[in-house]
Symmetry: C2
Subunit: 220 residues, 2 copies
DNA sequence: ATCAAGTCTGAAACTTGTTCTAGATTAACC
DNA sequence: GGTTAATCTAGAACAAGTTTCAGACTTGAT
């Protein structure tokens, strides 16, 4: 009930707060161990294989401590997604997309991201399901992930500094579509080919808002 | 584990199977009571208020029976969504959208659907979260809901008999966006205004595939 | 009407997320 | 070095989804 409240009030250490207190070295290590164990368990058996007791044991941390760092399983998995996305964003930066139009570049980037997640489908499933299952109490963390995704897309568009509201709307739509197709694919309800088509379809919106219909949006 | 398997093999009565056996009158009633109780509980407190024991008690059915009809809480809520969507589709049919272009009509319809769900936000939350949280074992039911949504959108487009693959892709993207914005709004992570903008943005894809860019797609 | 097969009930048991408690450990500060 | 507050641990306890089981009830076919 007032779970989020209480925690926000009481949790002094590792987790979320307006200004998180510095975080000891050992604490950083613990947090890392937890996220690592989570990802490992998720890779093996997806969402349901990530069991809090197991995560605690694997990361050599007491159950209570795990809950102090991540107030719920969903928080834990969303944090894992944040972690993985950071990695992914780094990778993507190193080899920028080559398409002519912004839409091409975004589609290419998203399919690349899709491919990366595909390599560990169960991990992807665990993270994606947590992300969409998250309720209000996880909003800050979900928003963080959302901002990351937005950043990735804007990067692919060519690193605009001040996107217009229309562009941001298009980016949000692309984001939604990306996540939904991911989930649909992970649930075995669609083919990879259809995923690609749909990603390309939605990316048309990028060009549409980027330079108006009919025009080209090439990058120097 | 083999839960879905076993159930598919063993569940003779009410639920899913290749060809569902006819379903007695009393069974139809039971099923109806269950769905009604579910919706009622969901209206009050959303996803977490739908507790299987409560549903069973409210609908005057043993817990085991509830599980025979709906093999999990997610199945139950997805079935509830199907039920509600059927109602909604009926309502929408009665007053077709008035926009000029297919995109306008779809956007209008979706906002209307959004409005309908808004009236019972907790019920909407429960259903939407179940829908995206569903795993493979619920795929058939989720697909059914998806087909319903597709039908609503195609209706709004003007009841095409044989949509092109491009159109279907656009429809899928619109669908994904609709559900995602719904969830995002229910979680309090976005405003109604932004929802409207995003819906309108994605609906541009409809016109784009309906008659090619620049042309008009009016309906007789 | 009766029998067999399938259904429903009630209650207990099991699983896993979450909370709570008491005591040991650590970190910061005097 | 000692004190105090915060943190961590181990483990019990609780909550809600799911499973199981023995027995009562329905239904359909004979």
């Amino acid at each position: 009930m007032t779970e989020a409240d209480e925690r926000a009030t009481q949790a002094p250490g590792p987790a979320h707060r307006a200004t998180t207190p510095p975080l000891t070295e050992r604490q950083r290590e613990r947090r890392g161990r937890i996220l690592h164990a989570t990802a490992q368990l998720a890779c093996r058996g997806g969402f349901e294989a990530v069991q809090m007791r197991e995560v605690a044991e694997s990361s050599q941390v007491a159950l209570g401590t795990l809950y102090r760092y991540f107030p719920s399983k969903v928080h834990l998995l969303v944090a894992t997604m944040h972690d993985q996305l950071e990695r992914l964003h780094g990778t993507l930066r190193k080899s920028p997309p080559t398409g002519e139009t912004a839409a091409d570049r975004v589609a290419q980037t998203l399919m690349r991201a899709f491919g990366a997640l595909q390599r560990e489908p169960r991990l992807a499933e665990a993270m994606a399901r947590a992300l969409t299952f998250a309720d209000r109490s996880v909003s800050p963390e979900v928003d963080q992930v959302s901002r990351q995704t937005t950043a990735i897309i804007l990067d692919a568009m060519g690193g605009l500094d001040n996107p217009t509201p229309e562009q941001l709307s298009a980016v949000r739509v692309v984001e939604h579509t990306w996540l939904s197709t991911l989930i649909t694919w992970l649930a075995g309800r669609t083919s990879l080919a259809q995923v690609r088509v749909d990603i390309e379809t939605v990316c048309r919106l990028i060009d549409l808002t980027d330079a108006g219909p009919g025009e080209r949006a090439a990058r120097p």
